[in-house]
Subunit: 324 residues, 4 copies
């Protein structure tokens, strides 16, 4: 069976309770750029993105969620391959359409994660060199997503085996069970990460930042706006990925990571980096502790037939040490 050629993680669709509050957060404070605006939806992008990468929709039932995570694929043949995979594995799927994306194959992976795949997309001139139009910290481009799942190893294996992802780093507990994994298609550290926990739920959605100072600036801006409570964790340096990071929470609690300065993984003999779950250097190279919420809270996901996807507890119990 031919394999799909997945290029990269490319988009997310969130529902939010108050589109104006979200707009203030993403546009006024974070400086994301509006590509399209409708009554009930905002289509946002970073300055390097040539297409919208985050759609915010007005939530209709009071329960904000992640409607889907979307990957760009190389060609129509990749969509065919995905369709064949869905058939073979009896995964629920359907064709969907979004603005600028006439043909998206939406399916539910075996773990309940709503994913979509598309090849065709309408693109727009980027804003990368329109520096006079950049505002706030200047989010640059989609980097990755991170999903909490009950069984990290099984989920990782499926994505690697069926979709051709490659492992960059992983975390195990004392017994050797997998706590977390970082997998990629694009040659960076990850397009997708899996973390043990009640799921499937979206742990975070991440944008690449031009440098560490733009992340520091995000903290200052949120503090200036008297919204420092939206800063959940960081800034700091991850042991995993070596990235400089910040985690913030949007008005609905969706978690956004601002991320920069990881490394490349293109070499054929790249050897995945293994971490022990309770190594204090793993979470933050500087040894900083992580707030408990970071291990417990995440965004629910849309079920294939609508409504909220059921989720179940992580296979591994407990959370890492070095928690506040």
């Amino acid at each position: 069976m031919p394999k799909p050629d997945i290029i990269r993680i490319a988009q997310a669709i969130f529902t939010v309770k108050d589109l104006n509050a979200s707009k203030e957060f993403y546009v006024d404070l974070l400086g994301m750029n509006i590509l399209h605006e409708e009554n009930d939806a905002l289509y946002l992008r970073g300055v390097e993105d040539r297409e919208w990468t985050l759609k915010l929709e007005k939530c209709t039932d009071g329960q904000p969620r992640v409607r889907q995570l979307g990957y760009r694929v190389r060609d129509e043949a990749s969509l065919d391959a995905l369709l064949a995979l869905a058939d073979t594995q009896k995964l629920p799927y359907r064709w969907e359409e979004e603005l600028d994306r006439p043909k998206m194959l939406r399916l539910q992976d075996p773990f309940g994660i709503p994913v979509s795949f598309y090849h065709e997309v309408k693109t727009y001139p980027w804003l990368l060199q329109e520096y006079h139009q950049h505002r706030g910290p200047g989010l640059q481009r989609v980097d990755h997503c991170n999903v909490m799942v009950p069984d990290v190893k099984a989920t990782t294996d499926w994505y690697n085996d069926q979709l051709g992802f490659r492992l960059s780093e992983y975390t195990v507990d004392e017994a050797g069970d997998w706590w977390a994994a970082w997998i990629q298609r694009r040659g960076g550290v990850h397009d997708f990460a899996l973390t043990n926990g009640a799921g499937p739920r979206l742990h975070h959605w991440a944008y690449w930042m031009p440098d560490a100072m733009s992340i520091i600036k995000t903290c200052d801006i949120l503090a200036g706006a008297r919204q420092a409570e939206k800063i959940e964790r960081g800034p700091g340096r991850h042991g995993v990925s070596n990235a400089f990071f910040l985690y913030i929470r949007d008005p609905d609690g969706h978690r956004i990571e601002l991320y920069t300065s990881d490394y490349i993984t293109v070499d054929p003999d790249f050897e995945p980096i293994k971490w022990m779950r309770d190594d204090p250097r793993r979470q933050t190279l500087w040894g900083a502790k992580t707030p408990r919420s970071w291990f417990e809270e995440a965004s629910v996901m849309e079920a294939f037939e609508g409504g909220v996807q059921d989720f179940k507890a992580g296979k591994l119990t407990g959370i890492p040490q070095h928690v506040i």
Copy 2:
């Protein structure tokens, strides 16, 4: 005779041909903050400034100029001392009033420079920690002014002897004649600098920046707005002052320096640093050459009775080597 206690350089008033063009430059691109706006004037400040520090007035005769440079003094007694000095030295003077500054002693120094001194001023809450309101590169506070004068040594001596300035650095040519001087009241490298050349004319007006990256960002913003021609020199590291700098020109040609990371000069045994005019490290520590315009162009100043102050050629001829 009691000496005036001058605190720091504090304000400038420029006339400009097109207030809208200036507003685009200073407010939209540089991100300066409007404290007051009138039909024919804009009062601007940096995020740390608690008062306006740059006033732009509509030019009425087609010749943009510097109306005055203003210093803050410690007390009324300092104004008395300045008045006595003006009387003694027969310097033209008068009392003037500006918005928020009810009582400014304006005088013409012996070299034709229009300077004003004030103690009383209405201040406003700063914007330093209102980071969500910062725009563009985030000019922080007035740092210094630089004036081209025909006789650097004589001008420096007068400011040091009569007004209590202290020398930080100076430049001499091969013959030992003074080419430039940096003098200060505030404990930094300079409130005021003198450069040999046709004058008196304002060479530049400078703002302190939060860091070097905010200066880099200014270049990107001007480039984004297709106004890169407004970048005249830099970014670079000065040998003199050790500052990281950028020189830009406003729509009327007034030169603005963005400046950061110099050093403190408060010690009583601080020994002024001497540079040779043609030392390539002096202008830019990295050896970069300076455009000829930087040595030749400057803003004319208002004469005491109105109109433009006559100016005469610099005592030293030629310009430094390391010029493009």
Copy 3:
């Protein structure tokens, strides 16, 4: 009685258990520069310092301490004025000598803090522009010291009244009692800060850094050396002072702050900034919590007659909210 003219905080002398361990910390990791090295002492400085600013001495009794904090004064007359003050107030004092500083007036202030004052000092060429010799994060110059004292208001008043310090910012509790104060001589936010707590003990000794990224780099370096446990708090942005900061602990527990980007306080009508003790923005503008150790641990000080100065509990009990 004439007032002393104190220029700035200028030096500290610490005793340490293991001079090699301290050298590894301050020189190898922080990149401080050795000005002199003796069998039992190291004299260190930042790249802008023209004299040693931190002396580390081998501790002879197993109890590391702060031997003294030293201020530079403008002239001999200032030493005379301090001597007269000591006589009048019956403060213990004596003349001491240190390398490069032939004549230091050491006294014990009314609160038990060992302070010294000197005018004459041998200076050396700075390293500011010897960038090829900078190592690690590049500590630049002494910025300030912070002492825990039982009665913040009384201590602040004495320094302001007797030594001419000026108040920049202060913190009060709900009842209006003073929790902390920042006072200055040099025109910045502080040369000296007072914090409520068991004292007198040195809370921290601080160096000015070239920019926020050099502070981030310090975290990375300590992490690289597997000494992340030496990072106690930060990096972050203080509400008080607006500085970007990091607190680290040396091998004997002496706390060092790396500090940058505060503001100037030279204006005569500068109005001290008041904070409420439990305002979450006060400690860290971003709302980050502070570890308990930061409120409880500090370095003991040398008594005038030798040994360790007795200290007593702070007047205010409890510690601020927003503590881990």
Copy 4:
């Protein structure tokens, strides 16, 4: 015919007149890391490199040169494909061996450029998170190489057609002739760039930097060491690639670029960006002029049979405007 799967540009070998002078430049000032040191050779790497990426050899005939540029390939099959290509196109080739690289296929491309390809390599733990061992500006990893060639279009076509490179950006003159091209394998802006000029000669060899400030720091370090004359161009922001850059010259004149913050090119519909040769934004987005040497000087390359490769003038005459 199967295509080789080239992963990325991976190494260069330069000859140098004075290995000690080169060591001072690359190791002491730039902070590159020595992986191996022999009597007549140094093997250097950046902190992210897991293998040596720049070998410096003592030059035996007084003419420093580039011995070869090396690409990593995915597998042995790729070497077979390259061998078949060499056979088909009658390109000179031989197997070579280097330290840690037992089997390199060296060939001379149709334009006279000495290139090598290898799959097997001995790797070493990286230094990326050994921050305490980083020195100087901290070069991170190989980014790309740039070669002056007489016929940019023909060379680009061959690399794209035969080796599977993809075009990111290109420059044409008024007549539509190609002046320069940037081509890639790794998903960034380029592994390889071609510039019109007398060639084949190496224009520059480039390392990725952690951020713009580490590039600024390089200027300061060279200035501190009184070697500012080694700074040839920059720092600045390229229009092409959007990278923040600096060009420096090693003691033998080999040109090194320090480079950061470009963008990704992985999307299947990525459309190459076209620039006009005399667009002032192309070279430096900020409009800065380029020194003439940058267009004229380059490193000669080794001929397949030894000695220096003959080279001929560029097809296009003249150089871009905006030159100093």
